[in-house]
């Protein structure tokens, strides 16, 4: 059995590796399609032909793109993300702190969003059809249909400009004490929780409802179990698979999807880094970011799958 599970997991990891490769190629071709090259863009208004030529030469941009990509890929296998075209800093250094920031933001958001979503989703499922349920369902839709920047800006206006409770910007570096971390992260976390939770709530609700109408839950109730016991101890464990999957998908958004939040709260994360990369055609940077997003996504999905596998004794 144990080996079987390990087999399954190995299988997942294998396919993830394949996906990674596909992504790196896709990203390469996408970026290769981008018009304009780094040198021209760096020089901006000052892009006189000779200046461009000079800079290109200085940046080894005159080599064929595929060669550069291949070199980068090989480097990647040795754990080297390459060097940024734009400022000759190792991409790893550029990403380093920002990656940590992104992870921290994602982590804190998860810490609040997931329990909240689960609670709402499960209760909504338990009292299916009730007023409470309807309110929750409509609200979730309502909330996801408000543009992200709208939520963020409103939050800032309310909490920072008028109430002056929280800072309008969140500088990861200022976080010294725990209290401060809360203060600094409050705003982006609130925004992201709004953005991310809705889908998790919906899926949780659906998954739990599926398992509530099963004979074994009925059996539990006929054993005299309370509704709560029946749902939490009998329905929920069997809904873990789909719920984990939904959560993973939603959380993957927190890795690369938070560009708007990063912009509005001036939070230095990788999403913004990649946007910079795109606008400066800094291929190594773009590719590295893309790979990171992909890895993040795959890790979450794979993790979800593994959870599902472990939660289900039949395949265990």
């Amino acid at each position: 059995m144990r080996t079987y599970v390990l087999g399954l997991i190995a299988n997942r990891l294998g396919s993830s590796a394949l996906t990674l490769l596909i992504v790196s190629f896709a990203v390469f071709f996408a970026t290769a399609m981008l018009p304009g090259d780094t040198a021209t863009i760096l020089l901006g208004q000052a892009a006189t032909p000779e200046a461009v030529a000079g800079l290109r030469a200085a940046m080894h941009l005159d080599e064929p793109a595929f060669l550069r990509f291949a070199r980068w890929l090989v480097g990647l296998l040795h754990g080297d993300l390459g060097t940024s075209y734009v400022n000759n800093v190792p991409v790893a250094d550029l990403i380093g702190t920002r990656f940590v920031n992104t992870m921290r933001l994602a982590g804190i958001t998860t810490f609040f969003a997931v329990p909240l979503s689960l609670a709402l989703g499960i209760t909504a499922a338990m009292f299916r059809g009730s007023v409470y349920d309807r309110v929750v369902t409509v609200l979730t839709i309502g909330i996801i249909s408000v543009p992200e920047f709208m939520i963020a800006t409103s939050a800032v206006l309310l909490f920072s400009v008028y109430l002056k409770w929280l800072p309008a910007l969140s500088f990861a570096s200022d976080a010294t004490s725990f209290a401060q971390v809360l203060k600094i992260y409050a705003m982006p976390v609130i925004t992201l929780t709004f953005v991310v939770s809705a889908q998790m709530i919906r899926m949780t609700r659906a998954a739990v409802i599926d398992t509530i109408n099963t004979p074994y839950v009925e059996a539990a109730i006929l054993k005299g179990a309370s509704r709560w016991r029946a749902v939490l101890l009998h329905a929920l464990p069997n809904a873990v698979g789909p719920i984990a999957n939904a959560i993973a998908l939603s959380l993957s958004y927190l890795v690369g999807g938070v560009i708007i939040v990063e912009t509005i709260f001036n939070y230095p994360g990788i999403a913004k880094l990649m946007v910079d990369g795109v606008s400066t055609r800094d291929l190594p940077l773009i590719q590295s970011c893309a790979i990171i997003f992909c890895v993040g996504y795959l890790t979450l999905i794979t993790f979800a799958d593994i959870v599902a596998i472990l939660a289900n004794p039949r395949v265990r």
Binding site: S15, S145, P147, G256, V278, A290, F293
Partner: protein, 280 residues
């Protein structure tokens, strides 16, 4: 039970009032979108108001935007783009996603594996960023926008449809169809699709919301509909400066978006049910 078969069975439908409301709002916006050019009070690009972020008034029913253009006209025209683009994109995404997903489930084997990996890869790149890259590469005309949004949301639809189809695929009636010698397309569209259409529609609804949002998200990144026109998301964004004054220029389009997305989902959650009433 044969007793009840005697009495006539004209198929009757049950349609909850919630669904009704949803439908009517959608129809309203659809109508607005269709008639837009004929009902706009002012040209979309024309600057009428000296002031900006003007309040609601008899002259400008929904006030003016950051340039002093008539908000009502802009929202009416915006309906065209938001409704049009999102609908087109979501249809494209859900259709291709579902088709591929079901095919993958039915055919299985390497076809399934490769396709799943490929779309996983596509899915793993954050939507806004891929949007940014695509738009930077091929510009952002309407066509490109629709295709882009569709491409971005196909993997999700695929994942979902596939997971549903896999379960249906194990049913005996699929085996029966196979042993009858039916082809893939028949099995996919005639045997599987009718059984998962419900969940697919629900997925369609939520995906529609996401696309409307991504559209506004893209406007934040400076992509989207060409001026002087703008989709609702873009309207919210370009007028967000009016938020502190509660200017209708920012409130109204937000409400428009909410009303549309919510009603789409209300409708889909409460689609008219054909009454299958078996006595006993």
């Amino acid at each position: 039970m044969t007793t009840s078969t005697a009495l006539s069975r004209r198929p009757s439908y049950r349609f909850s009032w919630v669904g009704m409301i949803g439908l009517s709002i959608i129809l309203f916006w659809a109508l607005v979108a269709l008639l837009a050019p004929h009902i706009v009070p002012y040209p979309v690009g024309e600057i009428i108001d000296e002031d900006y972020f003007g309040p609601m008034s008899g002259k400008l029913l929904l006030g003016s935007d950051y340039l002093g253009r008539d908000m009502l006209s802009r929202i009416i025209m915006g309906a065209r783009y938001t409704v049009g683009i999102s609908l087109a994109a979501v249809c494209l995404a859900c259709f291709s996603g579902a088709a591929l997903g079901m095919a993958a489930a039915v055919i299985g084997g390497w076809f399934d594996t490769v396709l799943s990996r490929l779309l996983d890869a596509l899915n793993s790149i954050p939507s806004k960023l891929s949007g940014l890259v695509i738009a930077a590469a091929v510009g952002s005309s309407l066509g490109v926008l629709v295709v882009m949004l569709a491409v971005i949301y196909t993997p999700g639809a695929y994942r979902f449809a596939r997971s549903l189809a896999v379960n249906v695929n194990t049913m005996d009636y699929i085996t029966v169809a196979r042993t009858r010698g039916e082809g893939i397309s028949y099995i996919v569209f005639s045997e599987i699709l009718p059984n998962i259409i419900g969940p697919l529609l629900a997925d369609f609804g939520i995906r529609f919301v996401f696309i409307v949002l991504l559209l506004s998200g893209l406007s934040f990144l400076g992509l989207g509909v060409q001026p002087p026109y703008a989709d609702w998301g873009a309207l919210v964004h370009e007028n967000i400066g009016g938020l502190p004054f509660g200017a209708p220029a920012v409130i109204v389009p937000s409400l428009a978006i909410a009303s549309l997305t919510i009603s789409v989902n209300l409708l889909i959650d409460n689609l008219p049910k054909k009454i299958r009433d078996r006595s006993a």
